[in-house]
Structures are given as C-alpha cells and as structure tokens.
C-alpha cells in the first residue's frame, strides 16, 4: 500500500504540477528585465522606509555656508539654494513619490474597479450610464483634468493625490470592465450557473480571480504614470508645497538655478525616471509572464 502511495505521489511530482501563480513566477524569474524592475522597486521601498537612516541630513536641514555647492564628498549630489543636501532631499522624497504612486493608484483601482465591475456584470443601462460618464471624464486630457481638480481643491499634497486618483478612475473602470466582460464570455461561467451557483459565488469564485491578472499588470504600469503626473503638477507648483521634498517640486526649484547649479534639477529627475522605469519593467514582465501568448 505504502509503496503504491509513494509511486503515485512521485508520478504526481514528476508531472510538472504548478499552480498558475507558480507558473507565472517561474516565467517572471526568467525575465531579467522584470527581475531588475522588481529589485529596483524593492530597493526603493527600503530606501523610503529607512530614509531617516540612509539620508545623511534632514530634508529641510539648511546650511547657509554651503549654498548651491556642487557634488562633493559631504554632499555628493550637491546642495540647493538654501544649503540643503540634494541627496537627502531625494531620499526623503522617495517616500512621497512612492506613496503618491500607490495611493493614487489604489483610489483609481478601488473606485474605478468597482464601477467597471458593476458596469460589466449588470450591463445594459447601468453599464451605459457609468461608461458614458467615464467617457466624459476621458474626453478631458488627464493631466489637464487634474489641473482643474487641483485648482478647485487648492494646491497641497493631499489634494494632489485626490486629483490624480480621480483622474485614474475612468482608466481602471475601462480596463476592469473589459477584463470582466472577457472573463464572462468563458464557458466555465455558464458551467458555474448550470450547477446552481449564485451571482455572488460566480463573482467571487470565478470572475474576480480570473480578471485579476490583467488588472495587476495595468496597476503596476499605472503607478509609474501617476508618479509622472503628480510630479508634473508639483513642478507647476500645483502639488506638494515647499519645503516638502517631492521630486517634481525639487525639479521645479532647480529650474531657477539651472545655469548655476545643474545638479539641483538633474538628480531629482533621474530619481523619477528610475522609479517609473522600475514599475514599467515589472509591469511589462508581469504581462508577458501572465499571458505567454502575448510574449513574442
């Protein structure tokens, strides 16, 4: 008996049995670029968490003897017009940019996801109403809509996140709607109906788990986008206000000193780019890993 059980078990192991998650992870691991993105995100996350330990100076620590000094051993990314250490400000700013990215995307994902899922599941008039409203918002270029919202709410970090978050809602509503709609087309949804499943059972056991993959990909890619939008608004002075070391705001401040202190504008921009790049790399990799058909 026992031997038979073990042979069966061995056979099962020999057949490469993997869940979808393991399968995805295996493919993701093979993608060097995606791994690089993931590593960078993890590192950035660590920098944000341990900013106080990593940054040699406080984000608003001014040193009037060292104004607009270029990169040196003490301030290896230079200092700004108030003698603050650019490196420290960027390190502290990572907290802001990452939270902006995650919070705005979460707002868009929850509200947009809810609207999109409702629209897809109920269809008909509900769908029409929700999606037409989303069309209206989408007809206003996103960045400009965010400017309108910020101008109504007043410039501040919180309002910035609200504005960019709202801006993201229609985007997610559309994606989740189409994702749920295409999942709904599968015969296994009908099969679940035939065995007497309730709507809720179908939504939670079949629709959501199967629609999640593309949403995850889009959310990852979207985080990068929202970071750019948010820093753009801060750059225009419509987002985070001084002395907050938001990267876009740092760039904006550096702009005035471009001719005398190039480092002030250069490095915050590099920080934004690297962060957004990391999310894009991971997003692309996830997409390829989740749907190998799309990988070319």
């Amino acid at each position: 008996m026992a031997t038979e059980a073990t042979t069966v078990k061995k056979a099962a192991v020999a057949r490469k049995q993997r869940t979808r998650f393991q399968e995805t992870w295996r493919r993701l691991r093979k993608n060097r670029w995606a791994l690089a993105g993931l590593t960078m995100i993890v590192l950035l996350g660590l920098v944000a968490i341990f900013a106080d330990f990593i940054a040699p100076y406080g984000y608003n620590e001014q040193n009037y003897f060292r104004i607009l000094e270029g990169p040196s051993r003490d301030n290896f990314l230079g200092t700004d017009n108030l003698g603050r250490d650019v490196f420290s400000r960027i390190v502290h700013g990572s907290r802001l940019s990452l939270s902006i990215g995650f919070i705005t995307t979460s707002i868009g994902l929850t509200v947009g996801g809810f609207l999109g899922a409702v629209a897809a599941f109920y269809g008909g008039r509900v769908d029409n109403l929700i999606m037409r409203f989303m069309d209206i918002i989408l007809a206003i270029p996103g960045f400009i809509f965010a400017i309108a919202l910020v101008s109504a709410l007043g410039p501040s970090l919180t309002n910035l996140m609200i504005a960019v978050g709202i801006n993201t809602i229609p985007y997610f509503a559309r994606i989740i709607r189409s994702s749920v709609m295409s999942t709904k087309e599968n015969e296994f949804i009908e099969a679940a109906r035939v065995i007497g499943s309730s709507d809720l059972w179908i939504i939670f056991k079949h629709l959501i788990p199967n629609s999640l993959a593309p949403i995850l990909v889009q959310a990852t890619l979207r985080i990068g986008d929202t970071i750019i939008i948010a820093s753009g608004l801060s750059f225009l002075g419509l987002g985070a206000q001084p002395p907050l070391p938001e990267w876009g705001a740092l760039l904006s401040a550096g702009r005035g000193y471009l001719r005398v202190a190039w480092w002030m504008a250069t490095f915050p921009g590099v920080a934004i780019m690297v962060t957004v790049l990391a999310f894009n790399l991971l997003g692309d990799g996830l997409r390829d890993a989740l749907d190998p058909r799309l990988k070319n």
Partner: protein
C-alpha cells in the same frame, strides 16, 4: 463617408455637453468669490454684492449652468477675471502656439515611433530590437519636464559655455529653431509609446495566417512586412496614438511652461494661480474639444485604412 463623419460629429455633442457640465461643476464649487477677485480685496461689500448679482452668481446652480451653456452656443465664454477681456479672445490668441507645438511633436513622434517599431519587430531578439525597446522604455519613463530642462542645460547652457553661441534658444516662440527642442521634449514620450505599440502590433500581425499565406505565395519579406503586415498593424497604432494624444496635450502644458511658449497651457497655469476661473473653464473646454476632434480624425483615418469600416458607411 460623409454620413459617417456627420454621425461621428453628432455623437461628439453629448460628450462635449457632459464635459461642460463637469468642468462647470468643478469650477462652481471651488472656494473663492469671482466677484471679489474681479473687484479686488478692498472693494466695499455692497459693490461686490452688486457685481455678484450682475454676474448671475446668486442664481441657482442649474440656472447658472444654463446661462453658461447658452453663452457657449454664441461662443461667449464670459470674461477673464483678471484682464476683463472676453475669454474667447484670450484663448484664440494663445491657441496657434499650442497647436503648432502639438502638431510638430506628433509628427516627430509618429515618424520616429513607427520606424523604430518596425525595426524592432522585424529584427526580433536582435540588438536592434533590444536597443529600440530599451530606448522606448526610457522614453515612456522619463518626465518630459525633466527632459526639457536637460535639453536646455545641454543645448543652451553648456553649448553656449563651450562654443560661445546658442544652438537652440531655450525660450520664446516663432521660428523653427525655437520649435526644435519643445517638439522633441513633447514628442519623446509619444514616440516611445508609438514604438512599443507598433512593435507589439507588428509582431501580432506577423503571426497571422494571412502573412503565412503571403509568404506561401513567394512574396519577398519586404513586401510581406511593408505591404501586407504594416497596413494591418497600423490600425491599433492609430487608435492608441489617438487616445494617447490626451497625454501629449497634458504634456504641452508643462512644455510651454519650460520653454516660455505663449500657448494655452501657460495661460492655464497662470489662470489657475490667479484663480481666474472663467478662463480656466474656457481653456479646459478648448482642450477637450481639440482632443475630441483629434479622435474624430483618428476614426476617419482608421476608416480609410480598414475596408471593413468603409463598407458600413458606403
């Protein structure tokens, strides 16, 4: 075809009306009193109250919106709260610069993006592919305001320091030389986006059965790629590039700011800072209309490429 254009134009109307409502509502519930703004902080309260009455600010919300919409049909968008000039005129002054910039940027983007995308897709897994895709990835990850500053730094500041003259001016507008840097700055992200879409769309099309059919006829690879595949691959590219045009318009606001271009975007930022709501309202509406018109143009272009759509509207 004409019938199709008319139909699409009509379908734009409810969306635009919806946009006016959303924009009007946002502006309406904004803190701050336009009458005070117009007259200045020191104006006596009675005066302000008279102004509010005159501007219709005491009417119920829907009546105000009705008046606004009614004015819109006569191209009357109200008056700028800072200069007192009609909003319509203010926008009309600034529109050409914005349109020139956007057009230049999109031309640059399509040209570079499509070529890079084709190269990447036809030489999949080679250095060309990897290189093009990495550049494109950098392009979509780069904030354009940073790219703008870096270009000024290199081509105006450093260049001037080294060679003693300015290669491209860092601000102003009017000549082609002025347009070069802004167009590149604004077009880069779009070019990168188009590269990525073109590549994946081409790869998808190159896998299709009809491409195999074309090859089985003995066509050479160039004909297969440029004649049989490209036209099919361009359809999603055109659609996506159209939808993405909104991002480009948004980017133009920042680009105009950096290069001091007297366009709508700069006017928008100024108006927001001075809480000039009527002007903000008008500008956002104008952007939405431009965006919708571009998407209409994209649909028409699509119909021109795809016979399946032409037939529906013969």
């Amino acid at each position: 075809m004409l019938k199709y254009i008319v139909k699409r134009l009509i379908s734009m109307v409810p969306v635009i009306i919806g946009v006016t409502f959303v924009v009007f509502a946002i502006m309406h519930f904004t803190p701050g009193d336009p009458a005070t703004l117009l007259l200045g902080e020191e104006a006596p309260p009675a005066e302000v109250e008279r102004m509010r009455e005159r501007m219709g600010l005491n009417d119920p919300f829907l009546v105000q919106y009705g008046n606004f919409l009614f004015g819109l049909f006569r191209l009357d968008l109200g008056f700028s709260l800072t200069t007192g000039r009609p909003v319509f005129n203010e926008i009309a002054n600034r529109l050409p610069a914005t349109i020139q910039l956007a057009a230049a940027a999109i031309l640059v983007a399509i040209f570079i993006g499509v070529i890079m995308g084709i190269i990447a897709s036809t030489r999949q897994y080679t250095v060309f592919d990897g290189g093009a895709m990495f550049v494109a990835l950098l392009g979509v990850s780069m904030p354009n305001f940073w790219l703008g500053l870096m270009m000024i730094l290199v081509f105006s500041v450093f260049w001037n320091n080294t060679f003693g003259y300015v290669l491209f001016p860092s601000s102003g507008f009017g000549t082609l030389r002025h347009l070069v840097m802004p167009a590149i700055v604004l077009g880069t992200a779009h070019a990168a986006f188009i590269t990525r879409i073109t590549r994946s769309s081409m790869l998808e099309v190159l896998r299709q059965d009809y491409i195999r059919t074309a090859r089985s006829k003995g066509l050479n690879e160039r004909v297969v790629v440029y004649l049989h595949a490209l036209r099919n691959a361009l359809m999603p590219v055109v659609t996506m590039a159209g939808l993405r045009f909104g991002v480009l318009l948004g980017g133009s606001v920042v680009t105009e700011q950096i290069f001091a271009i007297p366009g709508m975007g700069r006017l928008l930022v100024e108006s927001v800072r001075s809480q000039n709501y009527t002007l903000v309202q008008g500008i956002i509406l104008t952007y939405a209309i431009i965006f919708s018109l571009v998407n209409l143009a994209v649909d028409l272009l699509y119909a021109a490429i795809d016979p399946r759509i032409q037939v529906q509207y013969k």
